[in-house]
Symmetry: C2
Subunit: 618 residues, 2 copies
């Protein structure tokens, strides 16, 4: 049954999502790309996820009172982690409730987070013209005003002329201790930077005001490299097969970034020449292709990266149309497929400071897993395959309009479809939901087999039993009857789909288990599981745990932290100290190559089996 969904609109962004009745407000916000602070794990005790109901009915749930004053409740404040949606709502997200780099930076004044300390600063100067009593060199005169700075030769060539033509006034642009530009007049207030999440599929950029740390706009585009193959392996293969492909792939990435920057500047009216810093975080392959570094060695055992420390590359060399002095900071990488996006996630999560055993899991085609325990960091990556993105699923699709993205099974099936349209197929979250729910109802057994009607539990409601359809000796589960589907054709969860999910889940879970085993931890000793990645953000925690993708820890220990690269890149953009921290994190992290672990195959096989039971609590 496809229920009527409820519209929830978030302010100040104005983004709307449609959700099933009974959805947690915290989850609805996540669907809108808004990750809220939940240091208490969503137990309603810390009060950090406070939001304000601007319009719509929304009773306050019991534990809220403990973290919110009754006065605040009267004013419309609610805890997103304790509030279930029944009616359409308009909700305001206070900046301090949001989890993210800009918020971490902006809250500095309150004594936490990162101090705003961008690499680039601009300074307006007015010098006295030389006189006989003050005849120091032009360089010394400028430095006396703007502080010690290296002046690159091409700027030195213009310095004397600039000063004399412009009445000894202007604006110096300094990156670190290097002068990168001289501008006519006072442009000191126009200093911007762009943080780029360079994904295999999508490129997302955020424009930040370097003087205030404020995020001015977000813009995204498809990565045109998808024309060379959907995943990183196919793109690496293209380079290995065809020498010219490397340049084409590089140009494609740079073109996408230029397009994103163009979009950001158009939205805000910012001049592209006032963009002085770009920070880019992506996976190992994306980062190497961006730089024009042949990724062939990543395409075969033993998966060698060209570089690990962060790179700083002139934007001009990459053909990025910004200020000519702009440099591009490319995130450090740990090793193999543990790339800059993972380091960005570790940075945003502050993994080096974790006080309890903490797992960071970034779920995508590749799963990257980091374990922080006892001050030590280990990272690995594992090929989950594209199942979570809807690929190789018989009726799978990406999480776009028409995708079933949530499945709840009580007496019958409740579905949530993106865009409130008729369903077209199912995306990764729905796949997990469906399998978890069918496991709970005993319709799928621990080996992953969908039971035929005659083996199904005796107490199964008739409506569910009718959905078990056996074809060619395999049973599939009917999710959408033909008359409700967009195409007029029934949508099933196919037995084959369950197998694909088992492969994907097994790969990630085996990685988690091996990291845990290396330090002698059991899964239940984990104090915190951080879910990153665009996909991780939409997963239902209890369902991910039910299928064994995540270890058996209370849901309160599982936190969504949003897109790793999108969180960490702004930190490095807005603070030189964060760049150093990223470099330290990279160096401190041991890279674990799962293919070397003699027990990986065994772990993988075992992890493909679904758990017999799940924790009782969420």
């Amino acid at each position: 049954m496809i229920t009527q969904e409820i519209k929830v609109t978030f302010q100040p962004t104005g983004r709307s999502v449609y959700v099933l009745p009974g959805t947690l407000l915290l989850e609805a916000a996540g669907r809108a790309g808004i990750v809220l602070q939940t240091p208490c794990g969503g137990r309603g005790t810390c009060g950090k996820c406070r939001v304000k109901i601007l319009d719509g009915e929304c009773p306050s749930s019991a534990p809220a009172e403990s973290a919110l004053s009754s006065e605040h409740v009267q004013q419309g404040y609610r805890l997103a982690c304790q509030t279930y949606i029944d009616k359409p709502l308009v909700v305001e997200i206070p900046a301090e409730s949001q989890f993210g780099a800009a918020q971490q930076i902006l809250t500095t004044h309150a004594g936490r987070g990162t101090v705003l300390n961008p690499v680039v600063r601009k300074q307006y100067f007015r010098l006295n013209a030389p006189t006989s009593k003050d005849a120091i060199s032009d360089v010394a005169r400028l430095k006396a005003a703007i502080g010690e700075a290296t002046i690159p030769f091409h700027l030195l060539l213009t310095l004397s002329g600039f000063l004399r033509t412009h009445d000894w006034q202007g604006t110096a642009v300094v990156a670190g201790n290097r002068l990168i530009g001289l501008e006519v007049g006072d442009t000191s207030h126009d200093a911007y930077g762009v943080a780029v999440d360079l994904g295999t599929t999508t490129v997302v950029g955020s424009l930040f005001d370097l003087a205030t740390g404020e995020e001015k706009a977000v813009s995204a585009t498809m990565n045109p490299q998808v024309g060379f193959g959907d995943d990183v392996i196919s793109r690496i293969s293209r380079v290995r097969e065809n020498q010219g492909a490397l340049a084409e792939l590089q140009q494609a990435a740079c073109k996408a970034i230029n397009s994103v920057i163009h979009g950001l500047c158009e939205q805000t009216g910012v001049d592209v020449r006032h963009v002085y810093e770009i920070v880019i975080a992506g996976n190992s392959t994306m980062q190497q292709l961006l730089c024009g570094l042949d990724p062939s060695a990543l395409g075969e055992v033993p998966f060698v990266q060209t570089f690990d420390g962060a790179l700083t590359i002139p934007a001009q060399v990459l053909g990025l149309a910004v200020n000519p002095g702009c440099e591009v900071f490319v995130f450090p990488q740990v090793g193999g497929f543990v790339g800059g996006d993972t380091v960005a996630g570790m940075l945003a999560a502050g993994l080096e400071k974790a006080e309890v055993p903490t797992l960071l899991v970034d779920i995508g085609t590749n799963g990257e897993i980091v374990l922080a325990y006892d001050g030590k960091l280990q990272a690995t990556s594992t090929a989950a395959g594209p199942a979570f993105e809807g690929a190789r699923i018989v009726q799978g699709m990406r999480a776009t309009a028409g995708a079933i993205e949530k499945v709840v099974i009580h007496d019958d099936v409740l579905l949530n479809v993106i865009g409130n349209t008729r369903p077209v197929g199912l995306c990764g979250t729905a796949l997990i939901d469906a399998v978890a729910e069918l496991l709970r109802r005993g319709i799928i057994d621990e080996t992953g087999r969908i039971l035929p009607p005659d083996e199904a539990p005796a107490d199964l409601p008739e409506r569910l039993l009718a959905r078990l359809v056996t074809m060619n000796n395999q049973t599939n589960f009917l999710l959408v009857p033909p008359e409700q589907a967009a195409s007029g054709e029934a949508i099933y969860l196919w037995q084959k789909d369950v197998r694909e999910l088992q492969l994907a889940t097994g790969a990630i879970r085996a990685g988690i288990n091996i990291l845990l085993r290396r330090v002698g931890l059991t899964p239940d000793e984990l104090g915190s599981v951080l879910l990153a990645g665009a996909f991780g953000n939409f997963i239902r925690r209890s369902n991910a745990r039910r299928i064994g993708l995540l270890p058996q820890v209370p849901c309160g220990h599982i936190h969504f932290i949003g897109n790793a690269a999108s969180l960490g890149a702004p930190l490095a953009l807005l603070s030189a100290d964060e760049r150093e921290r990223a470099e330290r994190l990279r160096r401190a992290t041991a890279h674990v190559d799962l293919s070397l672990d003699s027990e990986f195959q065994m772990e993988f096989g075992m992890a493909m089996m679904f758990p017999l039971h799940d924790l009782d609590t969420c």
Copy 2:
């Protein structure tokens, strides 16, 4: 009288000079461009100027025994400061007796001088190919072998291909903490650098082996900028008048340096691609023109330089045909016309460590003067004009073949002519000699007037009296009668020449006096006077003092240190520490602008008068 001159050949260079009988061996060596160590001021007490007579008769003079063992004397060793030449000689100069950067570096093992620590080092590496158990990035693998180094982006682009093509072996070239090249095979023994003395007239380069500090060759060429004017002021004017002239002057300088480097490599068989470092020292104008920095502001009050701190410029940017990774270190400058050559001289002389009040005087068209007193350094420059280079002297010429370069007057006139030919004209040293000798004989009075025969001292020998020739109410002094001159025309010291010398001497001496006065010193309190510059090297100390060019200090306190730029540039080439010391010296030195000193005109006028008396002692 032109006496037959004596040939002295120096080994191991093989250079020969012709000198008057009775010339000090120390002075003859100077004429051959070899400056010997004379820490005791040439008093025969320290034994540092020890040389070995390989061929020819040369009795040991008395004080030598004190500093040389009789065994050594028997082996042919002599003290150059105590040995007068009577017969043709072949003399070996031991490396440790020579004053100069290479020697200072080479003697490090004996615990003194500068430690060989060039900015560029080469290292052969053999890496293990990656395996599954050792899959660190290519960058990390290289750094594990060669140490921490920044890898510029253009080299990073080639790194992975290089390692895989060349079996994980090669030679890394590292400048400071930056990789500047990767070479196939083991080329670690081929590392060279060039130190360039970029003079207004001449460009001299020395090729050094960076691994041993050894000087391999010296090569010189005219500065083709002379086509734009002889002196710096005329070249600055050209740039001020014609926008295109700056590029032409820059190209001329770079062409000269390329030609010098080409010559050095041809002499030694060194591949230009194995030249990884270039150090250049020149005056402010030469340095700015080399860099393409408009020197117009140096051409008018208040004489502003574009830069003061040292520059590091890619050799490729200057169009120098050496290794593509080579960088050019351009010496720091103090201010106005106190340029990189003066800083190089201060560096070579170790002025910051001077224990007695010490004056460094670099005599040329511009005189640069530095006073070190009580840990403080002051520097100034003064326009001496071209008299010391033979210009504006009626029968003046440069110190080339045919130039009278020494004048001694006893009963008659003894002359020394360069190249043992008939005289063509007189160069700067002969001008000083002649005037000093005539002052001693009372033929020139303290106002600079050459006395007519009727005013000449009563006891003047007839032969000298006959040389006083009055024309147009002025008396001139006949140096060479027509029958002895190359052209068949008599050569005179003209009254006008004496006036030119007074202007040149007065300018330098006024500068010295003003620096002394600023710290409350009198000239006789100077503990050391260091004479630098190609010209300063050939001056007779007592004669320079007699005409008032130098203060009245004992000759033992006056030391020749050779060409300032040629001495200091190799230090900066062979030691990163010396570069830092040069930078410290530059910063610690106060620039004194004489044009601002209200008493300069008065000092200048007074300094043009010759001293009434000279010290009795040499």
